[in-house]
Symmetry: C2
Subunit: 316 residues, 2 copies
């Protein structure tokens, strides 16, 4: 049996576990990271945790770390990380690698989540699937022919920046009408702001006209409580989700799509419109083959996947 440490470095939380090659999670815990920290600072924080775990688990053969940002896995560089704005082309792997006798692998967090769902979750035993994480933004992990696609420099999977509306709202990537401006927390907020739906007044009253209060969780609660406006927004969310998935299906010819991330909790409110739109936007034969799977491993997916990058390096 082989063991690996899997780490999911989030924007606010850090999750770590020891995973064995039979897919068992032996030890797992979570800590708050704190925002906007230097790379050296985070590296030292990780160093202390890894050191302790390596002492407790001497059979560990390596460490995998999922990082929310644009990661060049091969070179071990984090080009940028939206939640760590100070990081620019940081040689993150170097900061850690020298301190241990086992190798360290870093990769984009959505790639690690895809590896996790493919190991034990919604995409178990599939050779081809696309992982979509719906959160503050949109993340993508593209698992093709049994392996994560990285592209030329690790930039692959920025699927939130597919353009779905030529003249849509400006996006922080510099473009307009990116998919992320609809199917993320950012997108939900924007769709609420620009909506002229008649039931919006009642909704706005309930939040004291404070748009800052608009979160996926609030819209989920309102929809569940029967608020019509919130349901309309989730329906629009689902429609745009279907449009983007249609683009992905037509491009990759991959029919299994796994959807995770915090925003996907509202599954019941957006999945039907997504499926309907997807069918409208693909050849009939194709649309009928597509399956949208909810992710199942939740917060453990990144830990499992990061460990898998070590245990099954041919997959990453």
């Amino acid at each position: 049996m082989e063991y690996a440490i899997g780490i999911d470095l989030g924007s606010t939380n850090f999750r770590v576990g020891v995973v064995s090659s039979d897919g068992v999670l032996h030890e797992k815990y979570m800590e708050e990271v704190g925002a906007n920290r230097d790379a050296e600072d985070i590296a030292h924080f990780l160093f202390l945790h890894i050191k302790r775990l390596l002492e407790a688990w001497p059979d560990v053969i390596g460490v995998g770390i999922g990082i929310p940002g644009i990661v060049n896995k091969e070179k071990g560089i984090v080009h940028q990380a939206p939640h760590y704005p100070k990081w620019h082309d940081v040689k993150f792997k170097e900061l850690l690698n020298e301190q241990f006798n086992v190798p360290v692998i870093i990769d984009n967090d959505a790639n690690m989540i895809a590896l996790g769902e493919g190991m034990l979750g919604a995409a178990k035993d599939l050779d081809n699937f696309l992982m979509i994480t719906l959160g503050t933004g949109v993340g993508g992990g593209l698992f093709l022919n049994g392996k994560i696609l990285h592209g030329d420099t690790g930039f692959a999977g920025e699927i939130g920046h597919m353009i779905v509306e030529f003249d849509g709202p400006p996006c922080n990537c510099g473009g307009r009408g990116c998919w992320e401006m609809y199917v993320s927390a950012t997108g939900l907020k924007h769709m609420v702001e620009i909506s002229d739906e008649p039931h919006k007044d009642k909704f706005l009253k309930s939040i004291n006209d404070d748009y800052h209060k608009v979160t996926p969780a609030l819209l989920f609660d309102h929809a569940r409580d029967g608020d019509i406006f919130a349901s309309v927004i989730w329906k629009k969310f689902g429609t745009y989700l279907g449009v983007g998935i249609a683009s992905l299906v037509n491009t990759f010819g991959v029919f299994n799509i796994v959807i995770g991330g915090g925003v996907s909790k509202a599954w019941d409110y957006f999945i039907k419109p997504a499926e309907n739109e997807l069918k409208k936007r693909t050849y009939k034969h194709t649309g009928n083959l597509v399956k949208l799977h909810p992710a199942v491993l939740e917060h453990d997916a990144g830990v499992f996947g990061s460990a898998r990058a070590v245990l099954q390096p041919e997959c990453d």
Copy 2:
């Protein structure tokens, strides 16, 4: 030295050649195919040519055939082919394979063109590139980690059906606002039809108000002769080309894009707007890394690529 027969079955023309593993094209010719023929009919037509070439070139180790349609390479099935409307889930490989002592490989024509450009053309020695063919429709060949991506059933590469305009014009796939409705011969015609550009009147006069006359070649000639309206249409074409390429770059993280197909002859009239739009629609760092290459092998790309699928099977 190994030899293979490469065949490019087009909508109206058929091209065939014998290629050796050092990349030399030994014999090549072209014939008209005639439209709307049965699969059995075309298979017999190909059989006669292949038989003759196999007798003349006894060292040939296999036959590769590029077919304009949705091809399941593994199963040897052509699911559909827009220019051969009678073909539905045709077991095309079976129709040929049994008649020869050497294996036959069939694949989508854009995949074969990509293999050709990667062997000897614009993408020589690249491990990652995307081939875009701009013709009646839009074709795509996705070469990733040294291999064509086929997806689950050979459907990968239908990039003309990425959605770039949520509420755009209806497309024959059943959707709306597909990329193909802008950056193809079909798209050019549609953009001319809906344009309200002031110089349109003069242009229309020159074609006697007959929209049937609007072809890429006509728009190319008009632009070259200084017609302002034609230039505006090519600029719009380029802008949409840039939008779709941005979606592809953000998704695949691949920076080398090869553009071919008949419509790409108007390169000088659309490439600057395409590059400008692409840079607007990607992260600055990324946009600067992208290179748009004109295809160089023209009509030979499919012949070379189909032969390469035989000579270097690990690439297809």
